[in-house]
Structure formats: C-alpha cells, structure tokens
Symmetry: none
Subunit: 154 residues, 3 copies
Amino acid sequence: MVVVASSLPDSIHPHNFPAKLWRLVNNLENKAICWDSYGDAIIIDQHLFERQILSQSTTNSDSTEAFKTTNFTSFVRQLNLYGFRKHEPAIKDNHPPTGDGGMYHHFHNPNFKRNHPERVASLKRLTVNNKAKIQAGLNVNCRPPGLRKEMTPF
Amino acid sequence: MVVVASSLPDSIHPHNFPAKLWRLVNNLENKAICWDSYGDAIIIDQHLFERQILSQSTTNSDSTEAFKTTNFTSFVRQLNLYGFRKHEPAIKDNHPPTGDGGMYHHFHNPNFKRNHPERVASLKRLTVNNKAKIQAGLNVNCRPPGLRKEMTPF
Amino acid sequence: MVVVASSLPDSIHPHNFPAKLWRLVNNLENKAICWDSYGDAIIIDQHLFERQILSQSTTNSDSTEAFKTTNFTSFVRQLNLYGFRKHEPAIKDNHPPTGDGGMYHHFHNPNFKRNHPERVASLKRLTVNNKAKIQAGLNVNCRPPGLRKEMTPF
DNA sequence: TACGTTCTAGAATATTCGTGC
DNA sequence: AGCACGAATATTCTAGAACGT
C-alpha cells in the first residue's frame, strides 16, 4: 500500500474526473500515468493505461477509481473537457523507463499541478453551457458532494 | 443480544424513518448497514440489505422495525428525503469484510453521526412544503410521539 | 442460436437504447425480458435481468448488446426517458414461468409493440431540449447511423 | 396533516461519434 | 493524420408528484 502524498480538499467531488485523475497521477503504484519532472504536466503511457486502468473498468467494482470506458479516446475527451491540452515533452524531460516502448502523451492544465492540489477545485467542465456561464461571470455548478445549488442547508 | 450503544432522545418518533435507521445502523448484529470508520457516514451493502432487511418487510409484523417496501430504491428515496447524500468512500475506509462482493453505498448527513444521537431530532423530511417553511424560518412539524401540533403551550 | 423474428429498419441506430431493447425482448434465448401475451408491453424479471443482462455489462465486450451500467434503476431511467410507463399486468397475462419468484415489471410504450418494428423509429429521447423541440413542431435529432442533421437532402 | 411508497423527471457528469481545422 | 470540440446518448444521483394510510 502506498500512501498518497497530497490529498484533495473535501469540496472536490471524489467521483468526478478531476479527482480520479488526481488520485491516479499521485498513486506511485500506478506506472501508466505520472507527473513530468517539474510537476507541471502529466505523462501517460497509452498502452499501459489501456491495459492497467481502462481494461480494469470492467472488473473493478470500486466506482471511485474505475472508468466506465475502455477507449483511450474517451479518456482524452475528458481531459479536453476539463481544459487539458496536449503538448510536446520538454527536451530534458525523459519518459519514465517503465514503459514498453509504447506511445506517450503529455497533457497540461494551468490548474493541475503537483504542488497545487487546491487548484483542482478550479477545474470546470467546459461544456457549451458552462462556458457561457463562465463568460457571463456566473458560478458554474459542479455538483459538489452534499449540496445542490438551491439547497441552502438548514 | 447486543446492547445498542447510544439511544435516541424520547422526542424522536420511534416509528419514523430516522429512528428506524438509527437503530439499524447501531445494531451490531446487522451486517447490512453500519457506520464508516469515522462514524460520519453509513455504509450499506445493497444485496445484504435487500435480503436481510427489506425482504423481511413482508413477514415481520413489528412495524417499529420493518419497512413496508421491498425496493431498495424506495429506501434510497427516504434517505434523500431526509437529506442524506451519496458519496464515495474515503480511501482509508475499507469496506466491511462481511459482504458478498456486492454493491456498497455510502450516505452521509450532517445530522446523522455516530456520536451525535441528539442531532437525529434535527432531521426533517424535505418535502416541498417543509423546504419552504425552513426557508421562511418557520418551525417544521415532525410529529413527536404523544404530542400534536396544537398542544404547544401558549 | 435463435433467429430473431422481426428486425428493425436500417434507419434506427443499433447502438441506441431502443434498438438494444428491441433485440433483447425479441431474443427468445433471453428469459429476463419478454413480450406480454398481447405483444403490447414488455415484462422484465428484475432479478434475472440484473444477473443475466446487467452483470454481463462488465464481461461482454460487444458494445452493441451490453449496457455500461449494472444498476437496474439506470435501466428504468432509460425506459422512462424513451417514454415507457409502468403499469399493472392484465389479469389474464400470467407472468412467464421461467422466473425464480422475483420481481416483475411491466412497461408499455405506444411505439413499442411486437408487431410494429417500424414504430421503434418514432421513439424519441425525452430530454428537456427534445421535449421543447417536439412541442414546437421541430424535428428531433436522433443521430441515425451515418447521417447528420445537416445532411437532409435539399 | 404528516409520513411512506412508487413512479417519473430534472440536472449534472460520462461516453460516444463525428466534423473542422 | 492528429487534435480540439460540438452534440447526441448513457449513467448517476436527487427531487417532484401522486396516492394511500
């Protein structure tokens, strides 16, 4: 058992994509996805990811960790929906040696950095509706755990 | 016979859902529902619950303990009506070992904690009317045992 | 191998819920869901369905047939989204004898009848947007296979 | 009147498919 | 060909509404 270094604030819904991604990338047992050497971007070994994470979607009943998809492209769609962009790896940033020569992908997001777990709460799902709201300066509903927008607690 | 650790104040109607739930979760003989390790949320083993609690609804005539429904979804509707929300288990919070590999559900409620039986009286049924009353700062009638709303002294 | 009696028009997307449901209910090998004796409604044996259809969601890689959910309630949500309503079984309509005494559900839909496969194309997903479009007399996009909304010939 | 049960719908995220650049 | 994204369906969780007691 490996202790996860940094945990997220409670305000982040643990079921949603950003929290799942955070746990995956900080889980040292998981070789399929990790931080780059600066902690500024994530590196994904596509083949390992497909074998060790996505194909587990069908056998792992722990819905906190599993995805329901087995397609890597669906995972990338989620990354893009939450504002991640692909970029080329920095020259100095060697790929981790654990892969099997597969394909690597680097993705970065200004609000997803190793040393800033608190920024994960800033990740918004960039649907058309949410982008309009953000444009208008409104608050975006991200279904926080335990409360809904209308439900003032009693 | 297992002694229930903490009992509820008399002001809580023993036939109503919150009291039934409190007794279930504090009954150590009952493996289908229990506290999480912090006493902050309840964990329900759906299959066990259906077999051991809900299917007894038709044979157990003790209306104080039995539910009239055999549908797990109706039980969940009650949880939501009383303000419970589903959330994912904390990483450290292992599932109880008694299940059969079935589905687990975690629900939490700020007024339903192991160490705070007195707060159970704060649970209100969140109907549309009650939510309006709460919003307006009015008192919500919760039908205490042996009392009626008109009996408030003046 | 059992030959399915009536097949759907090509215009119906085979991956979508109505087509999956049609194939399930017309597959004589499948005992979990079938037509009632009039061919006017479908009868679902919940426990069989959970065991034989939904739990296969995790092992069957044939996405044309499998659901990604294991929850019966999610399946019911889909039924409701496509306009199915639950009703009580007709007196003459005995439950099929193959069940294990579990729970039966009858659902009906004016556009889902055994003798009218062509009507399945009329099933619309009743989201808020689609309902507004239907109300306004507009066409509802149902993503037919290989076609897009702009590709209507002019 | 309030609570319990049932059925349906709203609203958010997740997944899929296709298109434009 | 690769990447980002619109738009549709699928899944999940919660709430509304009707009805019975």
